[in-house]
């Protein structure tokens, strides 16, 4: 479904991504791991069009995404969450998700119909599926950290994505929140047939959940394979032991 081939991104002299390769098949739950500064977030930003690659290819269902703007890539079925909770703080929880549903249905330029009565069912269905329906009238900025992260995922779901990219979905969460968030992600993947690409620091989470793991270091892909294969790979062991 998604293939990244020999991708490079340089910021002046600094090579943030320097030969990344990735393969995500439909229905996969792919984790990208690597030490801080390995280029994981940059890789995600390249895939979703928030940055433009210096070199290399990003193919989604056979189409090259590398020159498309972010909103066009979203239209092709890739939605994402961000590392730092990225929501609309002054709007209500309901509106946060409704904005994305309206955009998905091409209604966001509608001028003379009240938004109050549009896409209400669709929005509430998403809020129900992530468990935020009780808080739908709360102002998003007042939510707890965990709820903000969940809301982010709900906003992404509003786009009816085929593929969901999650940048450290459990960053800054307590162990309980982490468990809840990951069970939400796996449940969504199962129920809605979503393909998920995520990066994560918590190795327990990664090895429990992922069907495939890609390891990055210094902007480069070392290996991609099943959790067992990655665990037993000598270069990975060396990289992680060497860094530690």
């Amino acid at each position: 479904m998604l293939r990244v081939e020999n991708l490079h991104k340089a910021f002046d002299d600094f090579k943030a991504v320097n030969g990344a390769n990735l393969r995500v098949d439909r229905g996969d739950l792919v984790a990208v791991i690597g030490p801080n500064g390995a280029g994981k977030t940059t890789l995600f930003n390249l895939i979703t069009g928030h940055l433009k690659p210096s070199q290399g290819k990003i193919l989604f269902k056979g189409e090259d995404l590398s020159r498309l703007p972010a909103h066009a890539i979203c239209r092709r079925g890739i939605a994402r969450s961000f590392q730092i909770a990225n929501i609309f703080p002054r709007l209500t929880v309901f509106r946060n998700v409704q904005v994305s549903v309206l955009s998905q249905k091409n209604l966001s330029k509608t001028l003379f119909r009240p938004a109050q009565s549009l896409m209400v069912e669709e929005t509430e269905r998403i809020l129900k599926s992530v468990g935020l329906i009780e808080k739908k009238l709360d102002v998003a900025g007042s939510l707890s950290h965990g709820d903000k992260r969940t809301l982010e995922i709900a906003i992404a779901l509003g786009n009816e994505p085929e593929m969901l990219i999650l940048d450290e979905p459990t960053a800054g969460m307590s162990p309980d929140e982490t468990a809840a968030a990951m069970s939400l992600v796996t449940r969504l993947a199962r129920e809605q047939g979503l393909t998920i690409l995520f990066c994560e620091h918590d190795m327990d989470v990664v090895f429990n959940v992922a069907t495939s793991i890609m390891v990055m270091q210094h902007g480069q892909t070392i290996i991609q394979g099943t959790p067992t294969a990655v665990r037993e790979d000598p270069t990975v062991q060396e990289a992680y032991l060497g860094e530690a």
Binding site: H50, A70, H71, R90, N96, V99
Partner: protein, 322 residues
């Protein structure tokens, strides 16, 4: 939910009552006050159109007066210099303003925030220079006065009603737009443009549409001014006026619907009444602004509603306790 509904209904009630009172004004008020109210309508509409961008869209349109001026000049020139029907002139004003908004906006939306504002001032000033220097067409600094306005809407009272109805209709349309999916999306863009891109919203295109809409209404305000005064002059698209409109929004309250109307009323009031005592009326304005920034950072309407809600809920709970 219940509370919110009540609030919306009472807001509607107050607006309707205000409208009724305004309908009756020409029957009891002196001609001068009727004129001042007309001026407030035109300025209020202008401030509302800017607030569509600044308060609801987070778009720093620093030089908004340009579109007011373009609307006024288009209507004024057609009325004064061509045999075309007056209705056409009145319609052409807002349309030309929207076109100017589209052209200037096309360049500006590529930039963000402050850079947007800077480029907007520069391009707007170009339009001002044209109005100032194209002497054979615009009479330059002298402006054009005594523009013939169609009989149906000339004379103090008919003009007043024309301004009242057009301004009220425009406010209703703007209200509907702000409640529409486009309005919701615009506020989402104000809050977080990056996230909007990531949910598939073409941010620049939405901003451009907002600019065109706001320019259109600014053009309507310009036409209203021509009907009221029968004059056009280059100061109408000078950046000082843009600053005044900005202050109206700030004064009344960015994040409320009626805030800019209140701001415009205060500005016209200060200009007229303090201005009749001293030419340094801006000194009073300066003091008002300083007090405002310290004590009412969200503008007059901003605080008013919050206080009101608090008093109401206290009264409600007191009643419940009885």
């Amino acid at each position: 939910m219940e509370k919110k509904l009540n609030f919306a209904r009472s807001g509607f009630l107050w607006s309707a009552m205000l409208f009724l009172v305004l309908l009756l004004v020409p029957f009891f008020a002196a001609r001068f006050y009727v004129y001042i109210l007309g001026l407030i309508f035109a300025r209020a509409l202008l401030a509302m159109s800017l607030n569509l961008l600044v308060g609801h869209g987070g778009i720093y349109q620093f030089h908004h007066a340009v579109f007011y001026g373009v609307g006024a000049y288009t209507a004024g020139l057609i009325l004064a210099k061509t045999p075309l029907p007056a209705g056409m002139a009145l319609l052409a004003g807002p349309l030309m303003a929207a076109v100017a908004g589209l052209i200037i906006g096309l360049f500006c939306v590529r930039l963000n925030k402050l850079y947007f504002g800077m480029l907007q001032i520069s391009l707007g000033s170009l339009v001002w220079i044209i109005a100032l220097r194209w002497y054979s067409l615009t009479a330059g600094d002298d402006g054009i006065h005594g523009i013939p306005v169609p009989d149906v809407i000339s004379g103090a009272t008919p003009t007043y009603y024309f301004l009242l109805f057009v301004a009220a209709a425009c406010l209703v349309v703007m209200y509907l737009i702000l409640k529409s999916p486009f309005g919701v999306t615009l506020r989402a863009i104000r809050d977080n443009p990056q996230r909007c891109e990531a949910v598939g919203i073409n941010v620049r295109r939405h901003q451009l549409l907002a600019i065109v809409i706001a320019s259109f209404f600014a053009g309507v305000a310009g036409v209203l001014y021509v009907v009221l005064e029968g004059s056009i002059f280059p100061d109408m698209l000078f950046w000082v006026l843009s600053l005044e409109i900005f202050i109206m929004c700030l004064l009344g309250g960015w994040f409320t619907f009626f805030g800019p109307v209140v701001g415009a009323a205060i500005m016209v009031f200060l200009q007229t009444f303090v201005g009749s005592y001293t030419e340094y009326w801006t000194f009073v304005l300066g003091i008002v602004l300083i007090l405002l920034i310290f004590f009412l950072p969200e503008g007059i309407m901003g605080i008013n509603f919050r206080e009101w809600a608090r008093i109401r809920s206290r009264r409600a709970s007191a009643q419940a306790a009885d």
